[in-house]
């Protein structure tokens, strides 16, 4: 492969990837360095996007005549007073705006989308359908398991134990799906290493294996 700036960047990415994967053997300085570099780059991107948004939807809009946006711009600057012990309370004003609007949206959407809609779906299903009955029973068992105002003894205890087993069943299914996603991420990254910069990958891997051999055998023998 030709040595270009693009290839050099991809080689750097490969080295950082292998450095992070070195954590699989054990925590080490190279991993820590790579991890810190990754966090730094991600945060740099976040900062850029934040500044971009403030400029585009705040400053530029104010300059083009939408003067009411001076208020949130000033409130945003006031957020930084949280770093002063004396003026810390001023930061509560912009926070109040964020919390007020967000809590209002949450209250509305949670009720409509997570409670009311679910109730409607449960109640409107005809109970001559076996699946609807099973869903209804599972729903009741789950809710009763998380209800702590009644003692879970006797018949109620048996019912809540059934609910607990249903909940654990769902956790097991969720765990299975979760591992699918994670292994998919491993596959993507390994595929990139093999296809984009195979030569750098081989060299980095050989260095890693040499380090592992040194740590496992040579260092032990010396000590």
């Amino acid at each position: 492969m030709e040595f270009t700036a693009a290839y050099a960047s991809m080689a750097l990415s490969t080295l950082l990837t292998v450095a992070i994967f070195s954590f699989l053997f054990r925590e080490n300085r190279v991993f820590r360095l790579a991890e810190h570099i990754m966090i730094g780059t991600f945060t740099g991107h976040t900062l850029l996007m934040a500044i971009k948004n403030i400029r585009e939807t705040g400053i530029d809009k104010v300059l083009s005549g939408n003067t009411i946006l001076i208020i949130p711009l000033l409130l945003g600057i006031l957020l930084f007073t949280r770093y002063s012990r004396k003026y810390l309370w001023i930061a509560r004003y912009p926070l109040a705006v964020i919390i007020g609007v967000t809590a209002g949206v949450t209250a509305r959407s949670e009720f409509q989308g997570q409670i009311w809609r679910q109730l409607q779906a449960t109640v409107s299903s005809p109970l001559n359908n076996l699946n609807a009955i099973v869903i209804f029973v599972a729903l009741l068992a789950t809710i009763s398991y998380f209800t702590f105002t009644i003692k879970h003894t006797g018949v109620v205890g048996g019912w809540t134990r059934f609910g607990k087993n249903l909940v654990l069943f769902s956790f097991g299914a969720t765990a299975a799906m979760e591992v699918l996603t994670r292994i998919g991420e491993v596959t993507s990254r390994v595929e990139w290493l093999i296809t984009k910069t195979p030569d750098v990958t081989v060299i980095a891997t050989l260095v890693f294996i040499a380090w592992v051999v040194y740590e496992l055998y040579i260092k032990n023998k010396k000590s």
């Binding site: 960047s9 990415s13 950082l16 992070i20 994967f21 810190h36 990754m38 730094g40 780059t41 945060t43 740099g44 991107h45 976040t46 900062l47 850029l48 934040a50 948004n53 705040g58 600057i77 957020l79 930084f80 309370w89 509560r92 109040a96 919390i99 007020g100 609007v101 209002g104 949206v105 509305r108 009720f111 997570q114 409670i115 679910q118 779906a121 449960t122 699946n131 099973v134 869903i135 599972a138 729903l139 009741l140 789950t142 809710i143 249903l166 654990l168 069943f169 097991g172 299914a173 765990a175 299975a176 591992v179 699918l180 994670r182 292994i183 998919g184 491993v186 993507s188 990254r189 990139w192």
Partner: protein
């Protein structure tokens, strides 16, 4: 007295007024309410951008400290973090976030780095499932069975020689599992709604930080 009103009560009133206005502006569907609600959404968008900046400042404080104190163990890593942050920031300012160099930088370093850090979890999950996922009692057995059924369902080969298992798992995910997740959704929905109303009514003041 005035100090307490300014520091405590006015922010609480702001939270309550804005919150209840946001809740009731939707069903009422009156233009002036909808327009005000939209305007408030723009304000929150701007404030959220400033809040992202707070996170970055915190990072500078946390990682600037070891560098200033010349902490032998920590300062090289903190310096690497802040240096990479500044380099990315400068490239983004010079080339702009939508420029070709920044796009390439993101693809090769930032996006790749994110994926690598999350891929580590894949290895540890694989190891945990192999070594630690044991059925020590009935409940553990139930959970393990569910995991095995769903994993086998995801792999097409099991459809060929265990089609009934595949059908059962599909029914399991579409019916009883739905009942359980609906229960979770309703419980979470009730909890979030109560939490939101507690904040709006001033009962929950944890967002205000420490009392003076």
């Amino acid at each position: 007295m005035m100090s307490v009103v300014l520091r405590k009560y006015i922010p609480l009133v702001i939270v309550g007024v804005l919150g209840f206005f946001t809740i009731f502006s939707f069903p009422l569907d009156i233009k002036v309410f909808t327009d005000t609600s939209t305007q408030l959404g723009s304000w929150v968008m701007l404030l959220a951008s400033f809040a992202l900046g707070i996170g970055v400042i915190n990072l500078f404080i946390v990682h600037g400290h070891p560098i200033m104190k010349k902490d032998k163990e920590k300062w090289p890593y903190s310096a690497a973090l802040l240096l990479s942050l500044i380099i990315v920031f400068l490239i983004g300012i010079v080339d702009s976030v939508t420029g070709p160099s920044y796009k390439f930088l993101y693809d090769v370093i930032i996006g790749a780095g994110l994926l690598t850090l999350t891929a580590l979890r894949g290895f540890f999950m694989f190891s945990a499932f192999t070594r630690a996922y044991k059925a020590r009692n009935l409940e553990g057995g139930v959970m393990l069975l569910a995991t095995l059924f769903v994993m086998m369902y995801q792999v097409p080969i099991f459809d060929s020689f265990l089609p009934q298992m595949s059908e059962f798992t599909k029914w399991m995910l579409d019916v009883p599992f739905v009942g359980v997740t609906r229960g979770f959704a309703m419980i979470a929905g009730i909890a979030m709604t109560i939490m939101a109303f507690k904040m709006l009514s001033g009962m929950d003041k944890s967002w205000m930080g420490r009392e003076e």
